[in-house]
């Protein structure tokens, strides 16, 4: 069974540029999560979707970050404009209902 797929794996951009990350969860998983992981830290939740509904986006910096999961399957996380402090690994995870979360490989973002 395929795991959580994320692309791109790496992204380097100049500050103030926009960037987007894509995630395809495990087939059948209705819950999707986006996490941010800074160097030397554990992942921190940005947003949680149940099907197409964002049920918890309290930690998403809404001035520059946005996310969507239009058909309740794959999802996109966008940053516009990116800042130097956004350099981190962005992880996507999925689960069936509220069972164990399975993570993708992440996208490493570097903002110059």
């Amino acid at each position: 069974e395929a795991g959580v797929v994320q692309s791109p794996r790496y992204k380097i951009i100049e500050k103030k540029q926009p960037v987007a990350f894509w995630c395809n969860p495990i087939s059948g998983h209705n819950t999707l999560y986006w996490y941010l992981q800074n160097l030397g830290q554990g992942p921190e939740l940005l947003i949680r979707y149940e099907n197409e509904e964002a049920v918890d986006d309290s930690q998403l910096p809404k001035d520059r970050f946005s996310a969507e999961r239009l058909k309740g399957v794959d999802s996109t996380l966008k940053i516009q404009p990116a800042e130097l402090g956004d350099s981190a690994v962005y992880l996507c995870a999925s689960s069936l209902n509220q069972d164990t979360q399975y993570f993708g490989p992440g996208t490493r973002l570097t903002v110059l």
Binding site: Q41, Q101, F103
Partner: protein, 111 residues
């Protein structure tokens, strides 16, 4: 404020010996605890979990112990193998299933 803490950033163990990784939490509403293992350039991989109604869960070489009164859990790996070398994250969740992670412990198993 960090609700899940892993106070040991690193641990080195000889192959064949026991590895013990520790984790403390502050939120008494947490009722489900997990350990994830992470290799470089990969996402965290689920390893083992425990519900708050139990105090021990075992899966092969991996055992997780939960001490609710002390708000402490630990992961035991016996025997340790070189392939176990990775960063281990402790995570906890409450009713909403949002995971709160510790900062990780880097385990090195020396052949």
């Amino acid at each position: 404020d960090q609700q899940v803490k892993q106070n040991s950033p690193s641990l080195s163990v000889q192959e064949g010996r026991i590895s013990i990784l520790n984790c403390d939490y502050t939120n008494s509403m947490f009722d489900y605890f997990l350990w994830y293992k992470k290799y470089p350039a990969e996402g965290p991989t689920f390893l083992i979990s425990i519900s708050s109604i139990k105090d021990k869960n075992e899966d092969g070489r991996f055992t997780v112990f939960l001490n609710k009164s002390a708000k402490h859990l630990s992961l035991h790996i016996v025997p340790s193998q070189p392939g176990d070398s990775a960063v281990y994250f402790c995570a906890a969740s409450g009713r909403a299933n949002n995971l709160f992670f510790g900062t990780g412990t880097r385990l090195t198993v020396i052949p």
